[in-house]
Amino acid sequence: MAETIFDPNIIKDQNLVYKRTDHMKEKALSYCPGCGHGTAHRILMEVIEEMGIQEKTIGVSPVGCSVLAYDFMNVDMQGAAHGRAPALATAIKRLMPDKFVFTYQGDGDLAAIGTAETIHACNRGEHITIIFINNGIYGMTGGQMAPTTLPGMRSSTSPYGRDEATMGHPLRMTELVATLPGTCFVTRQAVHTPGNVRKAKRALRTAFELQTRKIGVSFVEIVSNCNSGWKMTPVKANTWMEENMFPYYPLGDIKVPEKID
């Protein structure tokens, strides 16, 4: 196309409907184009901005593609060793009970090497929020099988597809932690459409608000894509996610706390 379709004159204050939250640092995201991590980061930071709790929030980043989350999220953060984020969050919350504390973890981090930390933080009912990005694969290390990899799904360490007989079954960590009395709110969301983004954001808001009630872990899974690891275009990855991931990992609330009036 020869002529430009973008008219710079439309940038006026009265036309502004949406902008980058300054709770995201001014730094280009290191994620692959189309990856869900970026959207998840943004709505998380929007929630913190809208609640006005930046000063009272401490985050824990994992090891995985989001290892550099602290480069993007404009709140105080600690980088955990692989899988240990819930242990760090436990200590942070115990020492500073009035803070809002969250972890942000991938499926390898949360559901493989960090299973013990996840289960026990949930079982102790720590008053923290755990955000679990489930893309069914190890993105950072180049596409190895994750505990959440679907049956028959190919990865570099399940090159012939995940064989449940020898590699186990995809782990529904979210349903699992929902059975623990220490969790108060457990939900599964997605961020690949505007509607889902809105719902996921509302869930994050609820999760953070619940921290003040001190009734246990609020746990938000976000089923996401990994177009690089799945070796698909971003658009294809999203369709594939809807067709394959959602049937196994159905979206919606799994456990909600009793209302207080």
Partner: protein, 360 residues
Amino acid sequence: MKELRLMKGNEAIAEAAIRCGCDAYFGYPITPQSEILEYLMVEKPHERTGMVVLQAESEVASINMVYAGAGCGRKVMTSSSSPGVSLMQEGLSYCAGAELPCLLVNVVRGGPGLGTIQPSQADYFQSTKGGGHGDYRLIVLAPSSVQEMCDFVGLGFDLAFKYRNPALILTDGAIGQMMEKVMLPASVNRWTEEEIKQQTPWATTGKPADRPANVITSLELDSAKQEKVNQKLQAKYAEMEKNEVRFERIQCDDAEYLFVAFGTSARICQKSIDLARAKGIKVGLLRPITLFPFPKDEIEKLAGQVKGMLSVEMNAGQMVEDIRLNAKGKCPVEHYGRFGGIMPSPDEVLKVLEQKFIGG
């Protein structure tokens, strides 16, 4: 059948494991060694030899699976890179305490902490001085070519079983990721049930009526007995120091100066030697192949011959302590290191040698 191939160091380790009759591999992905697990998964060793390959949920799990497999008298191995190997230290200490023969590969990356994924030799202390708690040693092999990556898998298992001790292949991301020609050995069969019982009568293979139950443990609460256990371990390490020291001498006979380096650094130094000799500087290289047992006597002997030794390492100065200890003051010993995943270049190494000893 022997076979010549162009392979990455990591792949050579995996293929060698299948060919040398390894019974099981347990591991967890981490860069720069994930190709070992990936290669094994592609090759379906279960179909080729019956070898078990499992992606564990963590390195803690991997090393404990190795402990148990070794306890059954099987040839089992794991591999990881620095952060993962740190996680394995507890399990390794238990393996050493229970005298379990097994093989570990550490494809080292720069630390401390999560560090970098680029090559490093910063895990020398951890590897050669024990690493976990208690008085123990690993047999440490340091390959400097893809061929040696392949060869040391079989050698590592042999030594591990000879001494009932964990063996470690200490390598780094450069050799792991590099491709070279490699002559793969012919396949040998995995041990049969009968052979396992014969080779490892101590293993938990199921108690028949005619022998007492076998127990694999590192626990001995009676201090007097625990001291005996330790003395036995120390005697074993002394035996290794007597029999198993391996090293390579490169242009040492007429050398006036000496590089001491292992693994990737040793390769770099070989090029530095060419550059030096072209300038008329007589330099040689002592390349320790076993880092434990360390070539103590050879160091002492060469210290009496040369005007100076330069330890070239991709760390802040670790092996240099062992060199100084064994040079016994017979010649000056200096260190040159790069860290954080940076590898020194051959001309840089030569310049340092000239500066430190010749005054250039």
